[in-house]
């Protein structure tokens, strides 16, 4: 149990530190692709720093739930990052929660945020909550199907053992994983509120999904939610990397293995972030009622992945 403790701690610390940087990197790439001069890589950290220094302004009639949600959501995202094999597959915490629990933890954060948004009683909060639920109830089954595709190969739903199996097979494109990969990319875009599903940089209150949910938050509360949002992007990126590009993970807790795993992870994240920025820059945001179609396609692809695995055994 204690064997992987250092790796586990390092994974959590890396997630906390790198998640805002990943968001900053995507923003930077987007700016470059639009021929703009980019904000610094650590801009999200500067924003977090600014927000933590500010006072909290609570809306009239806010219940204790509203104040508690930022901490709960943040905790959910840290948990998610802790059970995903980011640096090594030797994670003590991974026995606590498997892939299904991971989806549950992410869903819990979503429900909490939606409840908090409705707690205030503004039109935008309920609008955002409604839209977020629309995205969520379609995205979660697709995400589960993607994880099941990988789980079928490993005969386990524990993330660490899934990734262990995937990392030690020979380099080949498995048809089932190819379908799952496409589905997972589509789900990640929707879940993280990126273009074409949602626009994280919009100032138009009527078009927002995630931003509408958190419109009433301020100061440290907002900082925690922003941090949690970047942790979510980090978590999804790491799931993607772990499932579809697992090579380079440390199999044990030796300092040398972890030392090698970290730069490999950073390189993969940088590549993934750049790809996300390209995809976002060339797309326009779709109409909200196209989102169900979009997520239905993701679900069908994920199901095809499962079926292909059962039929072809690969």
């Amino acid at each position: 149990m204690a064997s992987g403790l250092a790796g586990q701690m390092l994974a959590i610390l890396a997630a906390l530190a790198l998640a805002p940087i990943l968001s900053g990197w995507v923003a930077q790439c987007r700016a470059w692709l639009q021929s703009r001069s980019a904000p610094p890589l650590w801009q999200p950290w500067l924003v977090l720093h600014k927000l933590f220094l500010r006072e909290v302004v609570l809306a009239q009639g806010a219940s204790p739930l509203f104040s508690a949600v930022p901490f709960l959501v943040f905790a959910c995202m840290v948990t998610a990052c802790a059970i995903i094999p980011t640096l090594s597959t030797d994670l003590p915490l991974s026995v606590v929660a498997d892939a299904v629990a991971l989806v549950g933890v992410l869903a819990l954060a979503r429900v909490l945020l939606s409840l908090a948004a409705m707690d205030i009683g503004t039109a935008f909060g309920s609008l955002g909550a409604r839209r977020d639920m629309l995205v969520g109830f379609l995205a979660e089954p697709a995400l589960l199907m993607v994880l099941f595709t990988a789980a079928l190969g490993a005969h386990s739903t524990a993330l660490a053992s899934m990734v262990d199996v995937l990392a030690h097979r020979e380099l080949a494109i498995l048809p089932s994983l190819a379908f799952a990969g496409v589905a997972f990319t589509m789900v990640s875009v929707a879940e993280n509120g990126r273009i074409p599903v949602d626009n994280p940089t919009t100032h138009l209150e009527l078009t927002m999904i995630h931003e509408a949910l958190i419109l009433e938050y301020s100061g440290p509360h907002l900082a925690l939610i922003e941090w949690a949002a970047s942790l979510k992007l980090f978590a999804y990126s790491c799931i993607g990397i772990a499932l579809f590009f697992p090579w380079g993970l440390a199999a044990n807790d030796s300092p040398l293995a972890l030392l090698f795993a970290l730069p490999i992870l950073v390189a993969k994240l940088a590549l993934g972030g750049a790809v996300l920025a390209v995809a976002e820059s060339v797309s326009a945001k779709m109409r909200i009622f196209r989102v169900p179609e979009y997520l239905a396609i993701a679900f069908v692809l994920a199901v095809i992945g499962v079926l292909v695995h059962i039929l072809l055994g690969s």
Partner: protein, 536 residues
């Protein structure tokens, strides 16, 4: 009966002639009813007359039925406002657009009852103007349905009506709820309140509440010297400063009966087109951004910035404020700048065409643009839409094209028209007009007539009225002006600046019906109406 487009139109310069047989039906009718009506001097033929209540209603009925009966009819109400004449008696004024010019009808009112016949049944958008007239001067339209306050929000100070919550029209039914947006928005934009009645994401009704930028422009005019007031006109709506300032100067020049030096008119046209280009560039970028394609915003912002810097180099002001002055323009264009302007226009046109190809071929963008916020030609005519949004809905009216005074007659302005009426059409019209304006700028710069760019304006003794109308980038901007000159003292008796946003704000509320809530910002941006110009 199609109005002839031959030489029978009374036009600028010299004594206008009118051939009664070829005038449009309402113009003919009105001229028979008002044999004394004579066009005022100035760029645009304007018939100015004082009416009785019966004549006031008759003119409105004739023009609205002509507009309703003939799809191609140019007859329309342009502006409606209330004022006081030189002796302080209340007046209601309406300006109509006809095939052969403008018709300005003044209706003197009884100072006690302060009432005038309602026009909102004949012209849909007149309702809000009438509410504004009541707010600003206490003149009431007899028989108007909607008498809620409009521009002035807190009227408890003068006790005309208690300050109560604004009674929005309620939509009831299962699952219907309201979304209130503004006047403070999440972005840095002008203030306005929008009340959506929605069922899920579908908008059943939108009602706007404006007036947050009301500052009393019409009243302020009367405290200013007629020459200096041009500066105020240029600040009615900052993005249309050239159009508003030109309309004011045109009205003042028409009142003073002077003819503008040709070079001055050409230089004003140059600035008006520059203004159109700058605004269209900004809107095209913002439209893509509102659809989530930030790439478009980045590039159009870059082009707009280059364009504004070029304006700054030419006029020492990025928006060309205070460049149009009574009697001409402030600075002449140096001949050495002409090649530079031509070069800038050509390279701009090239870049815009490249970006247009990207917009046109982007499936995601086109999916958002097409079929969104559609207004059919029939509805547009019913709503009395004007300008760019009107042309996108098939209403082919453009003052530069319909009443080509100088310099437009020498440039043969191409009328950009679409009948689709959706956001995509308003985008396409912007692209078309942008390229047309670039062509016009190059043509104007290279064919500038010689002569003076400014002639000192001497105001003649007595009372004089004048009107000016200019096709700004949003649509027709109109100024109606009365001045009084006694000895060496001159004053503005009444003056009204009309922005085309008055016509198109109600159209926006119709465009959103049946669309979904998240498409509103896109539809709103495709109209991009002025709050300041409307709230006065």
């Amino acid at each position: 009966m199609e109005p002839s487009t031959g030489d029978s139109r009374p036009m600028q310069g010299g004594a206008p002639t009118h051939d009664r047989t070829s005038a449009s039906p309402p113009a003919l009718l009105i001229r028979q009813a008002f044999p004394s009506a004579r066009p005022m001097g100035g760029e645009l033929a304007t018939y100015h007359l004082t009416a009785t209540q019966a004549q006031w209603s008759m003119a409105a009925a004739a023009i609205s039925s002509d507009a309703g009966n003939r799809p191609e009819s140019p007859s329309r109400l342009i502006a409606l406002w209330g004022a006081s004449d030189a002796d302080g008696r209340p007046l209601a004024s309406a300006v109509y657009g006809l095939a052969d010019g403008l018709l300005w009808v003044d209706l003197p009112l009884d100072p006690q009852s302060r009432q005038y016949p309602d026009l909102s049944r004949a012209f849909f958008f007149a309702g809000r103007m009438q509410r504004a007239i009541f707010d600003l001067g206490g003149l009431r339209a007899i028989g108007a349905d909607d008498v809620r306050p409009w521009l002035v929000h807190a009227r408890d100070a003068d006790a005309r009506s208690p300050a109560t919550d604004y009674p929005f029209v309620r939509v009831s039914g299962a699952g219907v709820h309201e979304i209130a947006v503004g006047p403070v928005h999440a972005g840095i934009i002008e203030p306005g309140h929008f009340r959506f009645s929605v069922s899920g994401e579908k908008v059943l009704r939108l009602e706007a509440r404006l007036g947050y930028k009301h500052k009393g422009i019409d009243a302020r005019y009367t405290q200013l010297d007629p020459i200096l007031a041009g500066r105020l006109a240029g600040r009615v709506s900052g993005d249309s400063t050239v159009a508003h300032a030109w309309a004011y100067c045109m009205a003042l020049e028409s009142a003073a009966g002077i003819e503008l030096p040709p070079r001055a008119a050409w230089l004003r046209a140059l600035m008006l087109e520059r203004e159109r280009v700058a605004n269209h560039l900004g809107d095209l970028g913002a439209l893509a951004n509102d659809a989530g394609l930030a790439f478009g915003l980045a590039h159009f912002s870059r082009l707009r910035e280059l364009w504004l810097r070029e304006s700054d180099a030419l006029y020492a002001h990025r928006l060309m404020m205070d460049q149009v002055i009574p009697g001409g323009v402030l600075v002449d264009l140096d001949a050495s700048m002409v090649p530079r302007i031509g070069q800038a226009c050509r390279s701009m046109a090239e870049e815009v065409q490249r970006l247009r190809a990207i917009y046109d071929e982007h499936p995601g963008l086109q999916d958002r643009f097409r079929g969104t916020g559609t207004i059919s030609t029939a509805l547009a005519r019913q709503l009395g839409m004007t300008g760019l949004a009107g042309r996108a809905s098939g209403l082919g009216r453009d003052l530069r094209h319909d009443h080509p005074g100088q310099p437009w007659s020498a440039l043969s302005v191409h009328l950009c028209l679409s009948s689709q009426g959706d956001v995509a059409a308003r985008v396409a019209i912007r692209f078309d007009e942008l390229l047309e304006s670039l062509r016009l700028i190059e043509a104007i710069a290279s064919r500038l007539p010689p002569g003076t760019h400014h002639r000192a304006l001497r105001l003649p003794q007595g009372h004089h009225c004048g009107a000016g109308a200019v096709e700004g980038w949003r649509g027709e901007v109109l100024v109606g002006l009365e001045i009084e000159v006694k000895g060496d003292r001159s004053r503005i008796v009444r003056c009204h600046s009309h922005d085309p946003s008055w016509q198109n704000w109600p159209a926006l509320e119709h465009a959103i019906i049946g669309n979904i809530v998240p498409d509103f910002p896109l539809i709103n941006k495709s109209f991009n109406l002025s709050y300041a110009g409307h709230d006065l």
